[in-house]
Symmetry: C2
Subunit: 328 residues, 2 copies
């Protein structure tokens, strides 16, 4: 038996956003059908080299695979070594035997499955007529969120703000070229949020950028940036009275945006309306009227890597891509 | 930059017991020099396929590598799929950049580094004139322990007992052929332990096989089998008055043989004399006279995989073995 190796180029040829959205939906449903074993995320802090390592592992009884993703962030990489800051490797093991069936680069999969998460939430939590998206942040995840939203809604205008002003022109030209959507560059975050049907926050921020007063009735907020303790992008008061949906209650109350209103005593975990998989499975309602403010807090789960990597593996086998090697 | 892939055959050509002993000594020292980041072991129970997955991750500032080992045990594998029960894959990432430098089969490394652990303990805890080893269990780890002990002491006689009588003849012929040591097959465990200078327990047992009355003054016990909650091989009363050394206090009090005397209230964690790295570093004494009963409880640490895999990687680069692939 052999192990299939897929490099970044091959993964890139096989990966597309509609598949990633399908994979993330399957992931969320499997999680809330209790078909998933997903141990806590393991982190290693390599302070001496300004690096952090996160290991997300997961067995899914639906995909039939165990996945182990090692994702690293090394902030000296671009300048000191000419390497990307973020790298990731995913190993897939046969769920029935533990045999390593595939090892693939995981960086693009992480980007796509994180982008897809916002779109999956928008399908059940955003107003169907959502046309305007306010985007906070102008990095690669701010792009991915838009690419995914454009698959599930007819987006006409994007209003982007970023603390890094120098990134805004690139964001505008990329999104306009890729998606044909008009991008408005905003001077202040309030302008980005004003009249937005959907607000996406995708920054590494540690304090609130979006204030409660700015958010209009009917807005859907996709909070992507906060994924560890101490991170924050929105005013915790926004959670008060909003319909709060998370990918994982365990993760979001500790590492997601939801940690902040809980710490501030504004909500408690029982005020979380649902995990997204419960909504997708019809166990709990999504948006029920045009006035609700909805929040989707996503920290990223191992099961998203698992189902997305499985789709890539299946495509690679079907199309004969990659290199087989006898590991054992 | 490319990633080196090493299959089981190549690892086997590069791996030898003296190197494994050196690597495990380095691992234990690094751990007690606080040069190691070693998060808790992550386990996934795949009950529907009789499988278990353990992920041991570690960064070592000494080896300069982050290692992630995924080890699986699937009890249906041999009969249902013609595969070994135990499989393992190790990924090594550059500690400075997070780049995946090497992916290698990890099954043999696990066996060797576990065997080497007992020998490292014997160097500082067994009597120097130890000649007779009582072995409980006749599986592959019972063989590895002997192979490693024979590197550090002049062993003349092995007295082996196993619940699986059918394995004993094979154990005897293997050890005699490999090490030229006389192996005596014992009918009862008491016979195996009698007059043994060193006792090795390497079974998957869940209750005491070795009783306190059988253990003579001056004996060194290497407790290898217990590595998860509920496992047990020796009478917890043996811990009372013995010099207890462990690989990791955190792991052994929860998953090692040491869990049992603690649960029984016979000792508490503060009765543990040392972690083995403290002894190797000279921070705490090893054996100080010929009468002490010493116990080494080992559950296996990620840092052992880390340092052993690093030696294999270095050898592979030096000898030009393995296959390079551009993953990123």
């Amino acid at each position: 038996m052999e192990t299939l190796l897929l490099n970044q180029q091959e993964v890139s040829e096989l990966l597309n956003m509609p598949d990633a959205i399908k994979a993330v939906e399957e992931a969320y449903k499997a999680y809330n059908l209790n078909k998933v074993q997903q141990p806590p995320i393991v982190s290693i802090d390599v302070a001496e080299h300004k690096g952090e390592i996160d290991i997300k592992a997961c067995y899914s009884g639906i995909s039939g695979m165990t996945s182990v993703k090692t994702a690293v962030g090394y902030w000296n990489n671009p300048e000191a070594y000419g390497l990307p800051t973020l790298l990731a490797t995913i190993c897939l093991f046969d769920g029935k035997t533990g045999y390593p069936v595939c090892i693939m680069d995981g960086r693009l999969i992480t980007e796509y499955r994180t982008g897809a998460a916002g779109a999956v939430s928008a399908k059940v939590l955003a107003r169907k007529d959502s046309k305007t998206v306010g985007v906070i942040g102008a990095g690669s995840q701010a792009r991915m969120q838009l690419r995914a939203l454009a698959e599930v809604l007819t987006i006409e205008t994007v209003k982007v703000w970023s603390r890094s002003k120098e990134k805004l022109a690139g964001y505008k030209s990329d999104i306009e070229a890729l998606l044909g959507i008009n991008v408005v560059i905003c001077d202040v975050p309030e302008e980005s949020v004003a009249e937005a049907d959907i607000v996406v926050t995708a920054t590494p921020g540690k304090k609130a950028i979006i204030l409660k007063d700015w958010i209009e009735k009917g807005t859907h907020i996709i909070a992507v940036g906060a994924d560890m303790e101490g991170k924050q992008e929105i005013d915790p008061e926004i959670f008060s009275g909003a319909k709060i949906v998370v990918d994982s209650i365990d993760q979001c109350t500790l590492k997601g945006e939801t940690q902040n209103p809980i710490k501030a005593g504004i909500i408690s975990a029982k005020d979380i309306h649902a995990e997204i998989g419960e909504v997708l499975l019809g166990k709990k309602p999504g948006r029920v009227n045009d006035d609700e403010i909805t929040i989707f807090d996503t920290t990223g789960m191992g099961v998203q890597d698992n189902t997305t990597a499985k789709i890539i593996y299946d495509w690679a086998v079907e199309k004969g891509l990659g290199q087989y090697l006898r590991l054992i």
